[in-house]
Subunit: 257 residues, 2 copies
Amino acid sequence: MHSVRFTAETSSNGVVERDFLVGEIPGVLWSPVAGSDHAPLVLMGHGGGLHKKTPALMDRAHDLVTTWGFTVVAIDAPGHGDRPRSAEDERTRADFREAHATGDAVRFKSISIRYGASLAERAVPEWQATLDALQTLPAIGTEAPIGYGGGITLGTAIGIPLTAIEPRITAAIFGGGFFAHEALIEAARRITVPIQFLLPWDDEHVDRQSSLALFDAFATKEKTLHANPGDHRAIHWLGLDTEFLPRQLGAISTSPA
Amino acid sequence: MHSVRFTAETSSNGVVERDFLVGEIPGVLWSPVAGSDHAPLVLMGHGGGLHKKTPALMDRAHDLVTTWGFTVVAIDAPGHGDRPRSAEDERTRADFREAHATGDAVRFKSISIRYGASLAERAVPEWQATLDALQTLPAIGTEAPIGYGGGITLGTAIGIPLTAIEPRITAAIFGGGFFAHEALIEAARRITVPIQFLLPWDDEHVDRQSSLALFDAFATKEKTLHANPGDHRAIHWLGLDTEFLPRQLGAISTSPA
């Protein structure tokens, strides 16, 4: 088993940010300056083509650290961020851009599904290795409750198969922006933990029915669909339940309502 | 114009409940014992076959009064609660029960739509007359911001055409459980105020696509769909944004998030 090798540390506004490597997987850990022994740990996924320190992801991570004292971790998906890209990654990304540029929706969808599934197949064991390594840190250990803090699009394409096979994850945030192909629907059907599902109502590329079918598939009765107008790249969430993870991970008691 | 004629008054747990008549329309007004000059006024609709003092409706009314200091009003829909039923009301209700008992989904849907549209046609001017009368009360006046606090099913079938033509309503809560026939979709297309839409994900009678089409139709960009598993008669809302009306009606400042 790989251990966590810290490579850099900075802090600002009460948040310590530590870059790390688990084997060859580059990650980043955010935690309160004041310490956070066995605080809930939230795994954050990034969108397709993005990386572990995408501004929107960091905003949410900082908020979870400063408001709830959580620890948050993000890793680069294969071929993303600081990771090398294989010839196949490069070819797929070029195909992807071309399908997007030429407006070939059928090809765009087929590449999305194939590439997303391929990334998930590699990313799931990487997340598990990262979790194994993080749990050897005294400040985290095996007592910290673990949630998947989401990300729509690729973060969901990876998070769903991960949550389906990883019993350490006890609550998860997923969302739209990714085609719900059969394997993803199958994985969703095996998920029994509480789910918050964020749906951009007017996604330019991904049909709404596909995302609704994904929400429908989750086996849990504790699932909430939250939709607002907008595309996944430009969405303003209105009245979102930002206490979903804190409630599920035990940071605040569940209200009887 | 009719005035408000109060017929009974009780109070409990800090909430004054006053029964009233506006012409022949029986209503009930809930307000804080401590007074509530020009506080936001929330119009509450009840479900089909129910009435203005249905327990779930009263729970929400009490909550709005005690938590936010709001005034809440409910009236009986035509043929509901304390109102007389016409021969046609009785015939329709008997048809309705029969369609339900025999499991005749097509007939059930057709009666629902026809009866709902007929009730809405009568209820909309009744709500407007009630509003006119309530605004002559010094504690309400024309300064109190007004929201429609919903109710799914019949409360939505009446609330949508009401909100579409009533400029005094500046925010509304609607929901599923009622067939989105063409006239209702048309009314939704004229609504430009912020909307919270509550969807029971597994309604036994009303197909999901019908409710999703209704949400899609609202002309406002400030609309949120919130769905949880369950039928409209047995639904437990999870992580619902209960500050939607307080925010929209100015009881709390809008958060920048």
